[in-house]
Symmetry: C2
Subunit: 417 residues, 2 copies
């Protein structure tokens, strides 16, 4: 079967046959599904723009350098089993499900006919939807390495994040033994993917916390406009583009010699739930808002410049301006790949929106990326008056799944690695 | 100014000038904004399909018969002022803001130049985004009529909903003096609208609860596929289409003689947060799932039929099948207009997704619509094993804003009405 390399954009409907209670569609549709999959191994270069599929296999996991999709569903899981073999089996099952879902297919083989007495292999709410550029990216948290005899394999770079000034972390939104980042242009496709992985993992893992992101706040596409965050500003203009191979190699991918070997081609992910004091911000003058960021609000240009992507003149900004403090030139070149999303999770019981930025950043080494950057920002950033970090997690994101025989975590769990 | 009738789909960017801190854009952009608005009063009939604007004015409020947009942000507010004049002033300010935002413009006049020392009139996160078919629909809850000397104007049809069997209502997700339903194809546009209305209402109203809906579960477009809910099923296939003038008149719009006069052209909205026991459902056999709904899962066809929209043969279904119980033929013709959205709000602390359906239904009279229907469903529906109603509210939705001099609630608050 070449179906796993199919990057065209079939409707999920076309690939799936359900055994209808009153219909004899099952067998016919199942046959059709296989035929469609077999015929579908021509790569359509426009697929990514047409709600199509993103290639699941590769040296790196998709969902990092991939052009940022519109929506996010992120879940952190706790492990519930002590049986290493059972956990590895789940990782293999997850990989196969991820391979299928990112290709726009339902979980399980196409044929549902004759299985009416069993729970469906797929929960069904994504039937008929396009692949929607779904990517699924797995990460392993520090606490996973306290299990399964993995302690000696924990990367030195996978440090527990320190407590930063101003942190007000909610334990129920912090940590996790592993994570899945699901990004897609259709939120139903992202939610469907997390849900089906949780279902497959039932008894082995349980969701610790999850986060829906409704709007992207970063771009990994060169020259694209940076989307606005909920403060109304463009932030992270100099983000690494997915096409910038050199910067990705330098700042994002774990390289040969970085150690350990099983992480080569992987990356480290920091996730932070950053609540914005929206109501306070909204009553702040335009001048103050622009001073805080060091940009103008309309265009997003750095102070004194005309365009968003003009090179900033940092000394023209206030000393505690966000752009000035976060800029690589102020930090000995520290650069991270940002992939965060805006969230709005109802209100907080005090009539205020519970909204902000779910910050996601990938880097080659957290000790040379997020940690020194956030030490500086948490101590000095003018923005701190309007935000609070309320959730936090860090994950080692292993390299990509090479081919259809490979699986998530093989380099960590296999003896050969 | 004819800008309020502009239904073309300009970028928000084109209409807005910000006074940049380091730029002299203010005045020029402000002039440009007025010019663009004045030139923009040709109606583009394709706008609605191209991320364009939906007409705000009309006999009925938009957002009811309007083809269902992709995303929802819904907010219920409590009133915080006892000053009727102040509240009416806020309704007028809200109307003007809604008129502008639904046309794809920022709140406030186009000119932000020279106001750097004041909070911006608009929070800015929708700058550069399209109107995205934004509709804003206001409703008045029963408790509003305990204020401002309105008791004698409360419609008889605006009853408090009874407690139904199985209800497990969370007070913090129930009720509200008024509500705003924001629907748009871009969630950032819907969130922006609610936030800016909340900001304008500061001190007069406060958000009691709010709900983000990420995927539509109904269609008000004739012959369109019904989107799937999070159970993976199509439900509400026979929904009223926005073009079915006769059924809208019969079942949705408050008519002459229904009383009170100020509600003529309006409707009544029932909102229910329905939590789904996702994990239990996902371990239920396909046969059971299809029996519960009375449809097959793949196509959505009623039991024994081939296509979603085939007329169901109710007696072929189990007596407690959802479709059978909810069908107008089983209920003396009861018909409601459904406009619900799927939600996923993280997890519940027990490793389960907090997900389900945010049910929204419009009807001419709640006593002849949702209440008798839900009495029957809550007592008998097989689906009850897998769902729970955890939030509830009912609102009188006044008629549309007629023109640029009219405002939300005028028919209720004006002496002349």
């Amino acid at each position: 079967m070449t179906e796993t390399q199919n990057s065209s954009s079939p409707s999920r409907r076309a690939l799936i046959g359900w055994g209808g209670a009153g219909l004899a569609l099952g067998a016919a549709a199942a046959g059709g599904a296989v035929a469609a999959a077999k015929a579908g191994n021509d790569v359509d270069p426009t697929a990514a723009e047409a709600g199509g599929a993103v290639e699941f296999h590769g040296a790196h996991q998709a969902g990092i350098a991939t052009p940022v999709q519109d929506r996010l569903h992120f879940a952190a899981f706790d492990v519930k089993t002590d049986d290493r073999a059972e956990f590895v089996r789940m990782l293999k099952d997850w990989t196969e499900a991820a391979r299928r879902m990112t290709a726009g297919k339902a979980v399980g083989e196409g044929a549902y006919g004759g299985l009416a007495e069993a729970p469906p292999d797929d929960t069904g709410e994504a039937l008929g939807l396009k692949p929607s550029r779904l990517t699924l990216t797995i990460g392993f948290g520090p606490s996973l390495f306290e299990r399964f005899g993995l302690a000696h394999r924990r990367p030195e770079a996978l440090v527990d994040l320190p407590q930063f000034p101003g942190d007000n972390l909610d334990r129920t939104r912090t940590g996790g033994d592993l994570c899945i980042q699901a990004c897609a242009d259709d939120p139903q496709v992202a939610v469907h993917a997390i849900r089906n992985l949780a279902r497959i993992g039932f008894g082995k893992v349980a969701i610790r916390w999850s986060q829906l992101g409704f709007g992207k706040t970063s771009s990994t596409t060169p020259d694209a406009q940076t989307p606005r965050n909920l403060m109304g500003f463009k932030d992270g203009t100099r983000n690494i583009a997915g096409t910038e191979t050199d910067r990705l190699k330098k700042f994002v991918w774990v390289g040969d010699g970085d150690g350990p070997g099983w992480m080569e081609g992987g990356s480290y992910l920091v996730a932070r739930r950053i609540r914005m004091n929206i109501e306070t911000w909204d009553r702040t003058s335009l001048q103050e808002q622009e001073d805080v960021f060091g940009r103008d609000k309309g265009e997003g240009a750095p102070v004194g410049k005309a365009k968003e992507r003009d090179k900033p003149f940092l000394k023209a900004m206030k000393p505690d301006a966000h752009v000035r403090l976060a800029h690589p030139d102020s930090n000995g070149g520290i650069t991270i790949l940002r992939r965060g999303y805006s969230f709005t999770d109802g209100s907080d019981g005090l009539g205020r929106l519970d909204a902000g930025l779910f910050f996601l950043a990938y880097q080659r080494d957290v000790r040379k990326g997020f940690i020194p950057l956030q030490r500086r920002l948490s101590a000095q950033d003018a923005l701190n008056e309007y935000i609070q970090h309320v959730g936090s997690a860090v994950f080692a994101v292993p390299p990509g799944v090479r081919d259809k025989d490979d699986w998530w975590g093989r380099t960590l769990f296999s003896k050969e690695a």
